[in-house]
Amino acid sequence: MSELRIEGLRVTVGDTEILKGIDLVVPAGEVHVIMGPNGSGKSTLAHALTGRPGYHVTSGTATIDGVDLLTLEPSERARHGLLLALQQPLEVAGVRPVDMLVAAGADATTVAERVDAECERVGLRPELLHRFLNVDLSGGERKRAEIVQMSVLQPRFVVLDEIDSGLDVDALGAVARRLQDATQEWGCGVLAITHFRRLLQELVPTAIHVVSDGRVVASGGPELAATLEEHGYEPFRRTA
């Protein structure tokens, strides 16, 4: 069984160390949720895993089946099974989603119909993906478009950076159901970053991890969300 294994990950942005030794294991088919206060390093983890410019890994590894993703180019990380769904997906004028998906490895003969079918599942009008990548889409539409890309590409692991923000209740439900189905359909491992509990009302997590000041400070089952709801992050906050 595949697993995404992050060990001792330290990351700096500019001169500041944001991640100070993250350890995390996500087995295939499971849903792991990372929660934490603003500035704790949640989004940095997502970006560092996918090699975003400006994020410098100073030590640690992130492996899928023994291959360290952090030594690979961003496209090779995706080809090796890790896909990031962004908090703020970028507009790329002139590039059509299907052309991008084919260049990313999707089957050219079926990609158009698969995109349309996946749009239906997350409540997105298919014609929004017939133009250019994320151009003229609202924030919530872009989030759903990211899920469509994921569903077509079927990565072994998906990292979701605040996929819930900007989605109304109905859209959130549709996205959560799609993710839950992905864990069954192709054994997709899900690492969802959020600071809202409402995603968890729709998406049943296997485990919850609390991140504070660049480290995982607590891990537990779904019941951890209730503790956070009641007491906030303060009991978990690290003192430097």
């Binding site: 975003r52 496209s75 995706a78 002139g94 991008m100 260049a103 990313a104």
Partner: protein, 426 residues
């Protein structure tokens, strides 16, 4: 239909270009004012880089005498890509070195003819209009004939009218006039093929009667050893509209000056210019939007990319006459740098003699957006493919408004050129 000038000059190899030209003109002295145009050319003289409008041209390696005629390839094979452009055409004009050699297809209200070059355009004579333009003057002196395409008033031509230009001689001077009668509409595609080691100097003029509508695509895909010095002028009457796309991919030096003159209220010109530079090419695009009357509109969009060691310059002048109130003139110029050794200049100029106008320009020069590229890469798209998608995307906005046949050819040529470029730099 074939002009008697379509003979290749039987000159000994040591003949100079000017001697050959002079002799050519004297044997056809009855044909218009060729000598007057030639005299005007001689008195203007060839440009030098100290002329502001020529400062970006690699004139140090330009010698007219290298373009003295050579034996023409009598059986000039058509470029296979011609078939792509001919597809779905209503009428196809084949022009070889400026000579109209064939017209196929027939549409009521559309006529094709030839006449002596150098006719007036609007209220200005040829010499007056092009008095500072040595190459346009040389064109009128040496072109075989003016090819005139006339669309009668109230005629609507649904399918494109295609003009195929083949260039095989050492120098090639095509002169084209397109006249649209009032309330007519047409789509015209002009495409240049060939041009190996040649000087190619086309002059095209377009007149639009009231309420006429012309969609025009001009595609230069000459050899990268050609010198291409082109000039187009649109004279636009009341409520008429020209949508013009000018694409330059070929040429060692590719100069395209595209002017519009607005002489009736409500006249509109939407001009898109596009180039892709590679190797050591220079693309030199110039525009002059001359708003002589009020309530006229010009929308200019120039998008070009330069790779390898290529260079580009875009110089756009918006001129608004005193009294041309409520004129709306906008210029946008985006340049993509695909190599650290490539260079792009952008020079917007405004000459506005009226206050009650809207006039705007915006420009940018820079490499591909690194974050957008990372976004594509993070989906699993390789860096080369991401850059190819982004550069083709950069041109999509331009090809989207062209007839499908020419858009397909431009897309294909851009992809081929990019593949060669990537191959050189990686």
């Amino acid at each position: 239909m074939v002009s008697p000038l379509h003979c290749h000059w039987p000159m000994p190899p040591m003949t100079t270009f000017l001697d050959a030209a002079s002799q050519r003109i004297s044997t056809h002295s009855s044909d218009g004012d060729r000598q007057a145009f030639f005299d005007a050319f001689t008195s203007v003289g060839l440009p030098t880089t100290s002329d502001e409008v020529w400062r970006y041209a690699p004139l140090h390696d330009f010698q007219l005498d290298t373009f003295v005629d050579r034996p023409a390839d009598a059986a000039l094979a058509p470029d296979a890509a011609e078939d792509v452009v001919r597809r779905d055409a209503a009428v196809v004009l084949t022009v070889v070195d400026g000579v109209l050699t064939d017209v196929s297809g027939e549409v009521a209200g559309v006529t094709v003819s030839t006449r002596a070059p150098g006719a007036d355009l609007g209220d200005r004579s040829y010499v007056e209009r092009y008095r500072a333009d040595a190459f346009a003057l040389l064109n009128a002196a040496l072109c075989p004939a003016t090819i005139v395409l006339t669309i009668d008033a109230h005629t609507q031509v649904e399918k494109p009218i295609v003009i195929i230009h083949r260039t095989s001689a050492a120098s090639s001077f095509a002169n084209v006039r397109i006249d649209l009668g009032s309330s007519s509409s047409a789509t015209v595609v002009e495409c240049w093929f060939g041009g190996s080691d040649a000087l190619v100097v086309p002059v095209s003029e377009y007149t639009l009667g009231a309420n006429a509508n012309l969609q025009l695509s001009t595609y230069q895909r000459l050899s990268t050893t050609a010198w291409h010095v082109a000039r187009t002028t649109a004279l636009i009457e009341r409520d008429a509209r020209v949508q013009q796309s000018v694409i330059g991919l070929g040429g060692h030096y590719d100069r395209a000056r595209n002017d519009a003159e607005f002489v009736g209220t409500g006249a509109t010109n939407e001009l898109h210019t596009t180039f892709l530079g590679s190797g050591t090419q220079v693309h030199d695009f110039r525009t002059h939007q001359f708003h002589r009357v009020g309530r006229t509109n010009s929308q200019l969009l120039s998008k070009g990319a330069v790779a390898d060691e290529s260079r580009s310059v875009y110089t756009g002048l918006i001129e608004i006459e005193n009294g041309a109130r409520r004129t709306d003139a906008r210029q946008t110029n985006h340049n993509l740098l695909l190599s650290p050794h490539a260079h792009a200049d952008t020079v917007p100029n405004l000459d506005i003699r009226e206050n009650d106008v809207v006039c705007a320009h915006a420009s940018s020069v820079g490499p591909l957006d690194a974050m957008q590229r990372w976004y594509l890469e993070s989906r699993g798209v390789s860096r080369d493919d991401a850059e190819r998608l982004m550069v083709q995307g950069f041109f999509n906005e331009m090809t989207a408004v062209m007839p499908p046949s020419i858009a397909a050819l431009v897309d294909r040529d851009v992809a081929d050129a990019l593949a060669r470029t990537t191959g050189r730099t990686s």
